[in-house]
Symmetry: C2
Subunit: 376 residues, 2 copies
Amino acid sequence: MNWEESMDAQGESAQADLRVFSDAEVLGMETALSAARQGVRGANPLVGAVIIDADGTVLAIGHHRGAGTPHAELDVINRLLGTGVKRDLSAATIIVNLEPCNHQGRTAPCTQAIINAGIGNVIFAIHDPHAPAAGGAKTLRREGINVRFGLMEKESQDLNRQWFVAVAAGRPFVTARLAQTVDSRIAAADGTSAWITSAQSRQDSHTLRARVDAIVVGTGTIISDNPRLTARAADGSEADHQPLRVVMGLREVAPDAAVRHQNGPGFVQLKTHDPATVLAELYKRGVGHLMIEGGSKINAAFLAAGLVDELVVYLAPTLLGTGMPALNDLGISTLAHAQRWEWDGTTTGPVERLGPDLKLTLMPARVPAVPSAESD
Amino acid sequence: MNWEESMDAQGESAQADLRVFSDAEVLGMETALSAARQGVRGANPLVGAVIIDADGTVLAIGHHRGAGTPHAELDVINRLLGTGVKRDLSAATIIVNLEPCNHQGRTAPCTQAIINAGIGNVIFAIHDPHAPAAGGAKTLRREGINVRFGLMEKESQDLNRQWFVAVAAGRPFVTARLAQTVDSRIAAADGTSAWITSAQSRQDSHTLRARVDAIVVGTGTIISDNPRLTARAADGSEADHQPLRVVMGLREVAPDAAVRHQNGPGFVQLKTHDPATVLAELYKRGVGHLMIEGGSKINAAFLAAGLVDELVVYLAPTLLGTGMPALNDLGISTLAHAQRWEWDGTTTGPVERLGPDLKLTLMPARVPAVPSAESD
């Protein structure tokens, strides 16, 4: 935050109070947050936007659908103007759970879209902590738009808390994907693992691949499975967006390994076992969303380091008893130190049925639970 | 099946065809099956019953709620007579997915309830394979009631297929309960396990305990956890119905072990490692529903032997990495031999939220899935 923004924030601090917002504005922010939850987690935060008129009537609701698609502000403006009704929006208010962005990324700045639409009032929950996108409030005020913020700040912070963690750390948002049996095995005793989960789960996994900027696996997975790490449709055709294919570890990736010879943004091997080093290097290369696809050692290394923001578990209704566990040592020796997560999932909820399997989505828990002490 | 029943079945075989049932009767059986699914699995099968009048109007719907509660036929009759309207039911039809029972168990024979209500017609899906309860059709006909069967036989067989397996084998219906982390650990590396799952999950587990006739654990669990194995309410008070407390294994159960000193039908140690021996012995003692509460070795022994009819998994949103796995060796070395299950769950569906945890319910799969061979 630079000096001017800091003054900006101070000048507005008296307004960062629920009492200065009308019931219609509070309801508008609640609606924006609900709309935000219809999006997908990743490089971008979950953002929803609502436009209300002077008497509080909701004119349109929009949300962001993931990196590369219109931001929530543009989405809601498009929906409103898409109705074909030309109207004076100088008395209208756009309500959004994050400060409108101020930079040209894959999409145009939201501030410009708001100015072009002639919307007279902006309410947002929290400032954008992402330096290149910040400064939206200042730009809007300079155009004579009335800007207020601080409404439902806590809920908005909470909704995207792992995204804020990643932004603050200057690293990609990290999704770890496990495809396991009910007893958490990812391969049988003899190493067979094709396939633990159903065709539907694998297709969903390819949809995830098409959404992320990079996928990382260990050298062990390359040697045992020789994966292509591309995003493909059910008919085998490649998705438009392909991830960077990353292998971490010291062992040599064979010249004829499939991972080397695919379309898309390319292949890179990072000769390290340290997850933080991998994240720093990939962030420098512009990776905003990384997916970890195993095996056990890589999964455990990122989880043990607290560097996973989202955990996707494809759970097949099968049992193996023995075989390769999904995870390896997390450095946890006693139950009180167990990693606490909570069920998450936006568009589809935390449990989705995929053919015979379940897809479970989790995010790190807010507050560690305190174990009770009664006897059984 | 004795000679008379066999003749009975043959004489009716021409009617075991959908074409001899009216649309209203087919719809009635579909409704009965839906109602049946509102029950709980265990010593008794899932049964629903519907009464329709001569023009096909549904007069009442009922179902069985688990061992010790009224059977579906009595439930639906009680619901109809409970309305206070006295009516001639000689033209009415009761439709039920299992042959009305013919014996005095914990409840009066259903045949007698139907006769007493003056219902003139009975349609059921399949004969009761349980010898002491069989012969209902003959008893009803002797009273001049018109009896037909074979309607939606396949669906009715499928709904209770594991119950039919248990009855045919002359053994209890077996529920295995796992309380585990997402990575399928039931204790941390240092042995701590109180508590993996939430208070809500543990309370649900006590509800299960109050429903079964017996609980079995291994001697290892007795030594490490010293459980009481009683069914208790959240306030610690004991449920009205308590299970028989069973320990299997060769190691001595200490004279002061908690499991020896509780109210209820008592404690027994079976000095064997063989699940089939345990089931045979408990069936002789009148156990119709057994719950397995671990540890890993006991869980795996029953599962490896194919002697689990229902699997209940309390899944805590936590990770441990290492520690005691929920299961042990199932004798499976390659993925093609993985045990196939499917999501089940009647009243609440296969996935239930219990506080921070999920409760997953599974039953053995009907048909083994064929693994596909594409590459990843």
